[in-house]
Symmetry: C2
Subunit: 158 residues, 2 copies
DNA sequence: GATGAAAGGCAGTGAAA
DNA sequence: TTTCACTGCCTTTCATC
């Protein structure tokens, strides 16, 4: 089976395991209407093909003491890999960082962070980001709510 | 044990299960240096307390045929729940949507999407978003790269 | 590829420290 | 709260279709 060929069983597996990565193989097989050994091999195949990249526990940052989320838009000059690569490493090393988007446009990076409170956010911006001379601009956007969604199906657009 | 009290074992569990949610309890216990039943009870406690909210398979959207990612910034008028709630439902129902950020500022929403190609993105913007009259502004930002990071530790800022 | 049976190993329970 | 021992069940393998 080639890389992007997914039948309805594969898609059902993706849906189930995005809801619950720990669903017992036996139960998964039952929901798919196939034998447990079949379900097992299908899941392995999806991993081998890199369609399932891993199984992750989802952690609530708010209950970890960081209820406030924000997006920090960074403009970086000069925008060369010599400058950008260490910055990436720095941002991904911050405990506040959840996601780093490298984007096109007037801003170069968007950093999704979770912090304890407004003061923490303020100090993060001033004492961690703005002291770096390659960051020539920072714009902070508060996040009221973040909602993730399972990846449903391959591309299509009638 | 109360809600936000996490010792080093709890933090180690969060780190391990964010790397691999399917790590067998026996192996988890070994890495923590505790008995399997202890590890089991700790994980359950983290779930009960809502610190671990679930276990999810991570899916590679590119290998699902949607290699292009973008952020769509939406301005919505009027910004009332009567208008906003159906829009939320609509956006979360789109197969292209990965994450919906409800934000403060000049824009009201940021939608992280994965699409097949530039044409798909273009049509998504025109035929799905801009036909909705409550969306008075849409700004598209291409994403070169998205990097997620495990949630490390509770808040702190010396 | 999918199936079913067989074997090994793990999860999960309960009592004790 | 952690540990140990035990039981049952699930995962996983392999031969077969």
């Amino acid at each position: 089976m080639h890389n992007a060929e997914l039948d309805s069983i594969d898609l059902a597996i993706l849906a189930e395991l995005q809801k619950d990565a720990r669903l017992p193989n036996k139960d998964l097989a039952e929901r798919l209407g196939v034998a447990p050994s079949t379900a097992l091999e299908r899941v392995r195949s999806l991993r081998r093909r890199g369609i399932i990249t891993g199984f992750r526990a989802a952690v609530d940052t708010a209950r970890l003491g960081r209820p406030l989320q924000a997006l920090l838009a960074l403009r970086v000059r000069p925008h060369t890999s010599r400058i950008v690569d260490p910055l990436r490493t720095f941002v991904l090393g911050l405990p506040e960082t959840i996601t780093l988007f490298h984007v096109a446009g007037t801003e170069d990076f968007l950093v999704h962070v979770a912090v304890a409170d407004a003061d923490h956010l303020h100090r993060l911006a001033l004492e961690r980001f703005l002291i770096r001379t390659e960051i020539v601009h920072l714009h902070t956007t508060l996040i009221f709510k973040t909602e993730h969604q399972p990846v449903q199906r391959p591309a299509e657009m009638g």
